[in-house]
Amino acid sequence: YTTMTAPAAPAFKVAAIYVTPLEETWNQVLHQALLEARDELGITYNYSERVSESQVESIMLQYINSGFNMIITHSWGFWETADRIAPQFPNVYFAQGSGLCTNFGNNLALFDYYIQEAAYEAGAIAAKMTNTSKVGIVTAFSGVGDVNNLLNGFVAGAKHVNPNLNVTISYINSWYDPPAARTAASALIASGVDVIYSERYGIFEACKDTSGKVLALAFGNIVDQNNLAPDVVVGSVVWDLYPMVRSMIQGALSDNFASGHYYTTMDTGGSKFVWNTAFQNNYPLVYSYSQTLQQQIINGTIYWNTSVTLINGTVVDGSNVPISVPNFRNP
């Protein structure tokens, strides 16, 4: 509408619909991927943020009616709508971020919050780094399948290194509440935990005392958060959607769109553990251990039961999600 692009071929138009503001790390990942796709593949990218479940259908239809070729709905709460709308518009491609879609047809893709492999690596590193044999997780709600996979991954990774490790999970019971996350992290630290997986934002500031002394180390999640607190964050469990997005778009452009389930596995670059270089340099042994582990995960020599009984007695379910179904490969 506004830009004066060369009229050669009409650009492939991709829309993303987010339930929360763009600042949400979960959204940042897709946003970054689509910005990259815009620059590299020349697509047109438009997004809507803070879209409620009741609004999503209307907005999808508006995008479709104004000629968008691909709609990415990026929230669990959107999946039923996507599953219902997709078969009605066979010429439009749809991608849904997590859910239980079944109407894949030729045009619907489903992708998951699939970074448990990197979380496993993080868990293993955490187990190597802890001095107290106590590690913690600060997360949102219990019983969310997507999230549980990560937690399971992290716990399994930690137990891989030290089966007797104590892992405590603190639920802040909110998708976004940094002050609560910070308080939960303080509580973990006060109980002797010295490495924390920050599944939700808001814990890094808790990891130092008032004099600036580091009380606990932390892991970032979803995006690279290493710079947010360089002396605290060992590394981040990073979700990278660009390889998947590129594959989807290129598939669509070549009439070869692969519908069905996508997993952003480590081997395709969809998920990775990104070390904070300072820690990488200070802990060469742990670093090299993690690289080996990573290779084993990619090779498939390491896999784990998704239902892990945690030290504090909490069973993290979500076991019905298969762990290694690499039907998505970097083309």
Binding site: S48, E53, S58, I59, Q62, L100, V321
Partner: protein, 349 residues
């Protein structure tokens, strides 16, 4: 009703047009700052709200919960009971209704029963602050507001544990049975029965209640001067209690209609703040049912229209909130603007 072009009608029309125009001028500043064409922006706001049948229906669909909530709030506010808790009442109504619908399954009673229980749920949640106010004299602003959070965490808990759907991977209820779904009245749109019930049943009923009945009279008397109302023999506590509980009932229906007409399951994120939007709408409509109706359509239309505009013109979504805020202020201040213009001689009084 015959439309007579009396002086005061003409004045109100001028008033509305001028205040909205001025609001648009103010928002233009934002567009011009980013190089967007304001005229085009307004065009797309209109198109986004009423551009075709589907978009118009969508505006009505969004109007529905806002209208129901704000009609209820108008009753409470008329009686000067500051119910800030419609959000929580909406959640509790919707939750209660959903549990009923899911447990009754496909029976002809499912829909009416779930509506009834949603009403009771909203009422019950409002009854707590109502009792605290009438029996103990505790300020309802704070209790209703705080109870929103209690409701939302409680609903979240119900959805996470006792009433969690067994077959999804998320804390949400099971889908309501087909018999609980509000039928679609216009195929290919989302015009469900709830929209019609809200506009054609709830609105006239509330209008009748507030304007034509002795209860409406009591509401006003208690709201304006509770002391004199008491001296006149009106049961002030009972009136306050009823006003709060009725507003809870309407919020409960609003919640259930969102489940049965739009989302088909109960979620922790059911309402994008309808309970708070309703406050603005009720006061903007001066707690008059007709005014409330017009302002709920107005707000729904601006919301839908400006969010469409922001997509089409690639404007950050913040523009949606900004335009809503500016329009609310200007519509609220329209009388002042008109008086000012009349004083300056731009218009004749």
């Amino acid at each position: 009703m015959e439309l007579k072009l009396t002086k005061s009608t003409v004045r109100s029309i001028y008033k509305a047009v001028i205040s909205i125009a001025l609001a648009l001028v103010v928002t233009s500043v934002l567009f011009i700052a980013t190089g967007a064409n304001p005229i085009l922006a307004y065009y797309y706001i209109f198109v986004g709200a009423f551009g075709n049948l589907n978009l118009t229906v969508e505006t009505l669909v969004r109007t529905t919960p806002i209208l129901l909530v704000s009609l209820g709030l108008a009753i409470a506010f008329k009686c000067k009971v500051w119910n800030i808790g419609a959000e929580g009442q909406l959640y509790m109504g919707a939750m209660a209704g959903t549990i009923t619908a899911v447990s009754l399954g496909n029976s002809p009673l499912t829909l009416p029963a779930s509506i009834l229980v949603a009403i009771l749920g909203g009422m019950a949640w409002a009854a707590v602050p109502a009792l605290m106010k009438t029996k103990l004299g505790i300020n309802e602003v704070i209790t209703t507001f705080l109870m929103n959070y209690v409701a939302i965490y409680f609903v979240q808990w119900l959805l996470s544990f006792p009433f969690r759907s067994p077959d999804t991977l998320f804390p949400e209820s099971a889908q309501v049975p087909q018999a609980a779904v509000l039928p679609i009245l216009l195929p290919t749109t989302r015009l469900h029965l709830g929209v019609v019930l809200a506009i054609a049943v709830a609105l006239p009923l509330v209008y009748f209640l507030m304007i034509k009945t002795t209860f409406g009279y009591k509401l006003r008397a208690v709201g304006e001067n509770p002391e004199a109302a008491r001296f006149g023999g009106i049961n002030v506590s009972r009136t306050i209690f009823l006003a709060l509980v009725l507003s809870g009932a309407l919020a409960g229906i609003a919640g259930l209609f969102e489940v049965s007409g739009i989302q088909f399951r109960m979620r922790g994120s059911l309402s994008p703040g309808y309970g708070y939007t309703g406050i603005v709408v009720a006061l903007l409509g001066q707690n008059n049912p007709i005014g409330v109706f017009l302002s709920s359509i107005f707000l729904a239309a601006i919301f839908n229209g400006s969010s469409t505009m922001s997509r089409v013109l690639n404007q950050p979504q913040g523009v949606v909130d900004f335009i809503q805020g500016v329009l609310v202020i200007f519509v609220l201040g329209s009388e002042y603007i008109m008086r000012y213009l009349e004083k300056k001689g731009v218009f004749k009084a």
